[in-house]
Every structure is written in structure tokens, then in C-alpha cells.
Symmetry: C2
Subunit: 191 residues, 2 copies
């Protein structure tokens, strides 16, 4: 998505340690006109795939998942993060390791909102090492639902999570893929 | 908003302790067609007020704030919750008491995304005692921005937060106001 690459170049800030700050338009502050465009682009990419539900994790994935859900006219559900493992039988849960905070957290979703037969599109703002998405995939597996694919606003190609999923046969569509970024600039993968 | 009252009656679950579960359409799982309608209704209510930015708190306010921002074509910003007080000079911060969890938490927003001259509409999924909104109002005050008003999807009128704000002269618009709820049913305030 050309527009995403332009936004990153105009407003993104590259910080040491492979950090890209896009708080001015994608998380924390959200450019809502651009958000609607992202939603429509995700809908276009996955048109005809019979997606029945969008799924994400709180918090920064919610806006883009909602925009995709509105564009595709399907419900959206978000998994919640918990510090402790939730053994409540009313939820599906899995564990995700956060490299940013060097800690594990648990994600849960009510069994009411993820059903066998659901065709799920996973949506998130960032795709880096893919651990959060793998946690969501585990919830889908527990529910007996089906994964249609993944849509990410920005993929950090150099962290390998997206390509790892592609190698496993998961369809992954990212609105921009960054293969390298440093003081010299940002290199986008040609898609 | 008649449609909100109908959704609450059809899908809401009243639990002991003044708890209303609307996870099937408003938080956790979100009915995205209805979400777009809520956004347009908030835009209609605050049309002509010169709103320059929508503001909310993570996580469950994000979807409705994004929908309102899309309908009004203004940016949306969300405050983040922190366990600890953040003394970083790059943020505005305030403290909110959570009765649900009987604990204090801190909310922060980058100074970059809240500016003097901004005309802010606060949006949230629930308005109960109003403490979270008062925390956001404190951030607006620190920034020297201006509060235009509040829009809530569901106001628990019996908890008094909305009327407390109205008494202070704050414009508060709720898509449904529940004045009483118990085993006998849900009583909506006539608006």
C-alpha cells in the first residue's frame, strides 16, 4: 500500500534497537481518514475469502481491526491480555512472550465469541516476531475455528515473523514491509 | 438512540452488583455495522461544535472512538494505562481510581498529541461514576486544550457520573442512559 509507505517515511521515527515510532498516525494517535483507507485495503485483499470474523489483541490492534471489520461488514473480536493465567472454563487462553518487556503474558477470549466454523482474519498494527499472532492462532485452534490469514499494517520483515508464517503456509498480507531500517533510511520490500 | 436501547435489551446481560454485560456487541466482540452507526450518531450530536480531536482511554473505548473519529473526520488519540506513575516529561498524566478493581491506575498521553487549542470530544463505551472521564479531563486541562463534551455509548445513570458532569456544565451525550436495572428489567431514561 503506497500510502502506508509514504506515511511511514513522512511521520515515522526510527529509533535504535529496531524501533519504529508511528504514534502520530497508527497507534496512540490515529489518523482516522487513513484508518478507513487501511480497512478498505484489507477488505480488498481478503475479498471473496469468506471471512466471518476479524480478530486482534488489545490495545493497539483494536482500531485497525475495527476499521477492517467495518469495511468487510463482519464482527470484530479482541483477545484480552492478562498477567496471570486464567483458568476460567469460559475462555480460550494462550501464552505470549513479549521481547519488548521480557515477560510472558496470557491472552484470553470468551468461548462465546470464537466458534467452530468461524473463518478468522487476524489483524494487527505491527507484525514483528509474530509471537502475538501465534498466540491468537492457538486460540483459533482451541476453538476449532479456521484461520483465513493475517493482515498487518506494518511488518518488520527483518524480524522474520511474517516470513516464518508464510513458510508454514499462512497467508500474510502487510500494508508495508520494512526489510531494513537505520540511520540511512527505510527499505521497503517490493510487493 | 433507539437502536442502542434495543441492542441492550436483546443482547445485554444484567448481573448482580450493577454489572451490565454487553461483550457480544460493544466490547470484546464488536458489531461493526452497529459501531459505524454509533460513530455517525456521535458525529450528528456534536456537528458544528468544531471538534478537532476525539480522545478516549485504552482499551474498550478505542473502537467507538475510532468510529466517531472516522464519522467526524478528525484524529483520535487514546490515553494509555500504567500501573506506575510516569514522570517522563514527554507526557501528560493523571490518576484514576478503579472501583471495579479497587486500585489506582495512571493514564498518560504524549504531549505531542494533545495541544493548546485542540477542541476535544471525549468518547467512551461506558459512563458510570465518571472517574475515567475526569482523569481524561485533567489531561486536557494540563495541555491547555478545550473540552467540547462527552459522548458515551452506555451511561449507567444510577451511578451518577454523567449527571455530576452535567451539573458542572459539561455537555454529556449518551446513546442510552440506564436509570435502573435489576431482575425486573432495564429502565431507560427518556432523552
Amino acid at each position: 500500500m503506497r500510502l502506508m509507505e509514504e506515511k511511514i517515511l513522512q511521520e515515522g521515527q526510527v529509533l535504535p534497537g529496531g524501533i519504529l515510532k508511528v504514534g502520530s498516525f497508527l497507534n496512540q494517535q490515529i489518523d482516522t481518514r487513513f484508518l478507513a483507507q487501511m480497512g478498505r485495503e484489507i477488505a480488498r485483499l481478503y475479498a471473496g475469502e469468506g471471512v466471518s470474523k476479524i480478530m486482534t489483541i488489545e490495545a493497539s490492534g483494536i482500531a485497525i481491526a475495527a476499521a477492517a471489520g467495518m469495511a468487510m461488514q463482519v464482527p470484530m473480536v479482541f483477545a484480552k491480555k492478562h498477567k496471570t493465567s486464567n483458568v476460567d472454563g469460559a475462555v480460550y487462553s494462550s501464552t505470549v512472550h513479549s521481547f519488548t518487556h521480557n515477560t510472558d503474558y496470557h491472552i484470553v477470549v470468551s468461548r462465546n465469541y470464537l466458534r467452530p466454523g468461524d473463518r478468522i482474519l487476524l489483524v494487527d498494527d505491527f507484525l514483528a516476531n509474530g509471537h502475538a499472532l501465534r498466540g491468537l492462532m492457538e486460540l483459533i485452534r482451541q476453538a476449532g475455528a479456521e484461520l483465513v490469514g493475517v493482515a498487518a499494517a506494518i511488518e518488520k520483515g527483518f524480524q522474520g515473523g511474517g516470513d516464518g508464517l508464510r513458510t508454514q503456509g499462512v497467508r500474510v498480507e502487510s500494508l508495508a514491509i520494512i526489510d531494513r531500517m537505520d540511520d540511512n533510511g527505510i527499505l521497503f520490500r517490493r510487493q
